[in-house]
């Protein structure tokens, strides 16, 4: 079985701790659409490195504190 990398994120939690920032506000900060933020948060879309860094910057944290990954399947 081929390995599959699943990108996970903590955006929802980080939004909550950033004065309950809305998805729209985050989208505005990083220059993306709300639909994209919804998809990233739900794990339906893995953002580009550029957008991932922008999201981390919006929360003033390192990228590794926002995104992580899980490996599924055999290595």
């Amino acid at each position: 079985m081929a390995k599959k990398i699943i990108i996970t994120n903590e955006i929802r939690k980080l939004r909550f701790f950033a004065n309950e920032m809305t998805q729209q506000q985050l989208a505005e900060k990083v220059g993306a659409s709300r639909q994209t933020i919804i998809s990233i948060e739900a794990g339906k879309y893995s953002p580009s490195l550029e957008l991932a860094f922008k999201i981390a910057e919006a929360f003033n944290v390192k990228i590794s504190e926002v995104f992580d990954y899980e490996v599924k399947g055999d290595l």
Binding site: G31, Q35, Y45
Partner: protein, 168 residues
């Protein structure tokens, strides 16, 4: 439902209406005996006419869609906060219609589907000619495949917006 999903649905419905209108128009003429399979001038003319109608209809429907969407956003914004001014409403409309990297990726992947269907249709059209079908049949296969490709492009976009998309 997001702006992008609504836009995809509008595009699908427009494509379906145009394709259906083309087939109703040509089928009724063909059944009435007004045109024959060999009347290539008619078939080419009908296709050109419906391509033109398709382009104009798409532009008009997209404009109407954006106007209606802007009105609904303005109404929602006013309902939320009566004091919000025009600038805030304008900003909300702009934010709703913003296009980013995910939209571009979805567009690219759905384009592959659209062009793929059109390409397969062209090959089937050539096969039809090899199998001694008339040129009108070949033209209709090609026209239908381009139209269906465009509709499937919209459906693919809708699918990716709903189910998500990954690079690669």
């Amino acid at each position: 439902m997001s702006y992008q999903e609504k836009r995809s649905i509008v595009s699908i419905v427009t494509g379906l209406i145009i394709l259906l209108a083309y087939f109703v128009y040509t089928y009724t003429k063909y059944q009435a005996g007004v045109v024959s399979e060999g009347d290539l001038k008619f078939w080419a003319g009908a296709m050109l006419l419906f391509i033109a109608i398709g382009v104009i209809a798409t532009i008009i429907i997209q404009i109407l869609f954006h106007i209606l969407l802007s009105i609904s956003i303005a109404i929602q914004a006013k309902a939320k906060d009566e004091k919000c001014d025009d600038k805030e409403i304008e900003k909300e409309i702009e934010l709703e219609m913003v296009s980013d990297e995910m939209d571009k990726l979805i567009e690219l992947k759905s384009n592959v589907v659209g062009f793929g269907v059109a390409g397969v249709g062209f090959v089937f059209g050539l096969i039809a000619l090899v199998m001694d079908y008339s040129v009108a049949v070949m033209l209709n296969i090609v026209f239908a495949s381009f139209s269906i490709g465009s509709i499937l492009e919209g459906i693919t976009q809708l699918y990716f917006y709903r189910k998500g998309i990954n690079h690669g």
